[in-house]
């Protein structure tokens, strides 16, 4: 065996802790089986979905663990490739919230790339994210996932705002407003609505919930105060990435819902209504 990546995966797979992991899964699965039993007994009819969900989740997450294990031994440049791939997948998942908007996949890709990419690069350059494969992948994926979620919320809200305020937008256009001016209020509403979960997450830090990363660090024996500080820094990164993403995308999209003659594009409005 000469491949160090594969060696690393096999080493991780043979670790005695893997057995402990399966025992833990079995205990959690036993609890899930109780819920399944209740669903079956009460004929709620979605026990198949639960089983499929659990199997799919197990396969996906173990595969992801194996891939991460492989990547941990790879050259650091692979982190950029993997994060870029994640950004493309995030844009693909997210754009479906606004398919009526023209070019929404492209704008989502550019915006998530800009928002999440800039945040990851800036934080890595500043040393807030360690330049290791482990930190770049783990923190990077959190930043990208949050940018995706924020983008989806913004797309959903923005299309809704356009559809329900068509008369108000055209009333402003009809007295000489530019397209940007006519939708600025709805762009702001969409950006704010999309950031609410992140804002509330920051507000409730440590009071309502102990976030995953902080919990993980404490379990792993890290100083709880440092774990809290790092978690807060991560939350601000998530906010920055989400904010940059949705501001960029709503600005790009707000121009695409108008024609060259500064009219609300009827084809877009009809597509939103459908």
């Amino acid at each position: 065996m000469t491949d160090p990546g594969l060696e690393r995966v096999l080493e991780h797979a043979a670790d005695p802790v893997i057995v402990t992991g399966f025992v833990q899964i079995a205990i959690a699965a036993a609890l899930t089986a109780v819920v399944l039993g209740i669903i079956y007994a009460r004929q709620l009819g979605f026990e198949r979905e639960i089983v499929a969900m659990a199997v799919r989740g197990l396969v996906q997450v173990v595969a992801a663990g194996a891939v991460i294990s492989l990547l941990l031994a790879a050259h650091l440049a692979w982190a950029a490739v993997v994060l870029a791939f994640m950004i493309v997948v995030a844009a693909y998942i997210s754009y479906k919230r606004g398919t009526a908007l023209p070019g929404v996949f492209g704008t989502s890709l550019a915006s998530i790339g800009f928002g999440a990419g800039l945040t990851i690069v800036a934080m890595a350059a500043a040393g807030a994210i360690e330049m290791t494969m482990r930190d770049l992948l783990v923190i990077g994926s959190m930043v990208i996932a949050n940018a995706m979620q924020t983008n989806s919320l913004a797309l959903d809200r923005f299309t809704g705002e356009i559809a329900s305020n068509r008369a108000e937008i055209e009333a402003l256009l009809s007295v000489g407003a530019s397209p940007d001016e006519a939708v600025t209020e709805y762009v702001s509403t969409s950006v704010y609505a999309a950031l609410i979960p992140t804002i509330d997450g920051i507000k409730s830090l440590g009071v309502v919930k102990i976030p995953g990363l902080m919990a993980g660090m404490i379990i792993a024996g890290e100083n709880p105060i440092y774990a809290a500080q790092y978690q807060f820094a991560i939350m601000l990164m998530l906010f920055a990435a989400g904010g940059l993403t949705v501001v960029a995308n709503t600005v790009l999209l707000s121009r695409r819902v108008f024609t060259d003659a500064k009219q609300l594009d009827e084809a877009v409005v009809d597509a939103i209504d459908e």
Partner: protein, 223 residues
């Protein structure tokens, strides 16, 4: 007399269906053209084309002899202002709605103009009232003031009294007639009410299935 506004073979087709076909009309300066016809005849579509909220499939509009495709759409809409059928006010005060065209641009509000316009539309001292507290007729008058605030040369009115009760309708109509005459505005008024067209129009155009089937003085067309 030279036309202030002139349409030449104005046509709009949506999804293969003609909404407006070959409409050629002239509106002289400081006169009112009343557009009448049944629902779906193309009257509102005609107004949207004049304000260039929609694009004609064929034909064009001339403003003071200039093809409106050569005028920046924003400038055109300030010169040819549209009062929509639904007043489409934004949440906020009367003042914020009347001066919306300045506020969204971050420009200072011309408070004297707001006050003068509210006087003209018979809503004195209403500047700080919430638009949600106004009646339908009052909201319609705020919409008229919002359009007049940009000082248009041509006023397009889309069924300005259609949602109002008969008493309010008479008051708003009287107010509009007075405004148009005293300001010397050129006006295109869309209405389903032929009596209103006769009272306010200098000329009347009757639309049917997107075409003009009659045009002339009110007593000729509406006889």
């Amino acid at each position: 007399m030279d036309s202030k506004l002139e349409t030449e073979s104005l046509t709009r087709v949506v999804g293969g269906e003609p909404i407006l076909e070959d409409v050629s009309l002239r509106v002289a300066a400081s006169t009112v053209l009343a557009v009448v016809g049944s629902s779906g005849a193309g009257k509102s579509s005609f107004l949207r084309l004049l304000n260039r909220l929609d694009e004609p499939t064929d034909g064009t509009v001339y403003l003071d002899g200039v093809d409106y495709h050569e005028i920046d759409p924003q400038e055109l809409r300030r010169r040819v202002g549209l009062v929509p059928q639904e007043s489409a006010l934004r949440p906020g005060t009367v003042r914020e709605n009347v001066a919306a065209s300045d506020l969204i641009r971050g420009q200072p509000v011309d408070e004297e103009r707001v006050a003068a316009l509210l006087d003209r539309v018979q809503l004195p001292n209403a500047a700080e009232r919430d638009v949600e507290d106004l009646s339908g007729g009052q909201q319609q008058r705020v919409a008229v003031a919002r359009t007049l605030y940009v000082d248009p040369e041509v006023l397009l009115l889309d069924e300005p009294t259609s949602h109002l009760d008969s008493e309010t309708e008479a008051r708003v109509e009287e107010l509009l007639g007075d405004l148009i005459r005293t300001e010397g505005l050129t006006c295109v008024l869309v209405t389903h009410d032929t009596a209103q067209a006769e009272r306010l129009g200098d000329r009347v155009a009757e639309f049917e299935d997107g075409r003009v089937i009659a045009e002339g003085r009110p007593e000729e067309v509406l006889a």
